[in-house]
């Protein structure tokens, strides 16, 4: 499967899915015009890749400095897909980078951990 790269814009994050390395990266700010339209094809490619994974060690690096309410909802779907893959024989390691002072992103990370327990989740506060 071809890797997926979507360059960041001022309102949408960089998506860098290196499927051949099992490394998936989200980086930037997320408040696109239509979050569902932005994330739907990303989630589709992600699900297709995960369906072909077995006994894989997948690393997901998330460095999102801001996401609006509709992006938040879509990220929940991303993590749902990752959790399903982790429940079916893969190891999914998420590194959740955030500003050390950003409680909103910390709390959203806690919500993800509460619901998606198969994922090996690491909160990575970064001091500014």
């Amino acid at each position: 499967m071809d890797n997926l790269h979507i360059a960041a814009t001022s309102t949408s994050p960089e998506i860098d899915f290196q499927f051949d390395q099992n490394v998936l990266t989200f980086r930037g700010e997320s408040y696109p015009e239509n979050a569902a339209a932005f994330y739907a094809p990303v989630i589709e490619r992600l699900r297709a890749y995960l369906a072909g994974c077995s006994d894989a060690a997948i690393t997901v690096e998330v460095t999102l400095t801001y996401f609006n309410s509709s992006s938040t909802k879509m990220l929940f779907s991303v993590f749902d897909a990752l959790d399903q893959a982790a429940s079916s024989g893969n190891r999914v390691l998420v590194r959740w980078y955030r500003d050390a002072e950003d409680e909103t992103i910390l709390e959203f990370g806690e919500e993800l951990q509460a619901d998606f327990t198969a994922i090996d989740f690491t909160d990575c506060p970064v001091a500014t």
Binding site: T11, S70, T72, K73, E103, T104, E111
Partner: protein
């Protein structure tokens, strides 16, 4: 020509803006690209005003939710969106500072037929504690998106969570166009 002659009666506008510690004001059209450009202005203004980073993030978050509400729901539209072009709709957003408190006010017309529904969604939020708001946010995050929502249905809860006081809202009927009503929403951060 000195400054005062140049400004003439417009001076009152600038004086008022200064007295109210106006950080940002836009009345007019909102589209996705306009909001993206205004985001840069708002971020810079908040930083230059010396507001701490956590408060800046909350203000910016509320600014985006309010602005995107105008793009999606204002009843005054220049372009409806759909197809290749995005929506362009009219409204106003104002950010002022009052000591340690920051006020954000948003005004836009809505269909009068939508007033009841908006009221039903906002009224409960105004009476909830922060703990209850966070709980409602968690529930909404996991529930299916309401059909009429173009966003996630999470926008008002996101604003309520970031506010330091209950959200306030009001509806003003418009005599000239009774089928639309002015919707005002205020958040204090």
């Amino acid at each position: 020509m000195n400054m005062f002659e140049l400004l003439d009666q417009d001076a009152a506008f600038f004086e008022l803006a200064q007295r109210r510690n106006l950080l940002f004001y836009h009345k007019g059209y909102f589209s996705h690209s306009i909001v993206a450009a205004m985001s840069e202005v708002v971020k810079l203004q908040l930083e230059v005003a010396g507001i701490n980073a956590p408060t800046r993030r909350k203000l910016f978050s509320s600014f985006i939710e309010l602005s995107q509400n105008i793009i999606h729901y204002s009843s005054d539209s220049l372009a409806e969106g759909g197809g290749s072009g995005g929506a362009i709709r009219e409204g106003a957003v104002c950010i002022t500072t009052d000591g340690e408190r920051h006020l954000m006010l948003c005004v836009n017309p809505v269909a009068t037929s939508a007033v009841g529904h908006l009221r039903e969604r906002l009224e409960p939020l105004c009476n909830m504690s922060l703990e209850e708001i966070k709980q409602a946010y968690k529930v909404s995050l996991r529930s299916d998106t309401p059909e009429e929502s173009k966003g996630a249905g999470l926008g008002f809860l996101t604003m309520a969570r970031d506010a330091s006081a209950p959200l306030e809202f009001a509806f003003y009927p418009r005599v000239d166009t009774p089928e639309t009503t002015l919707f005002c929403l205020k958040t204090i951060i």
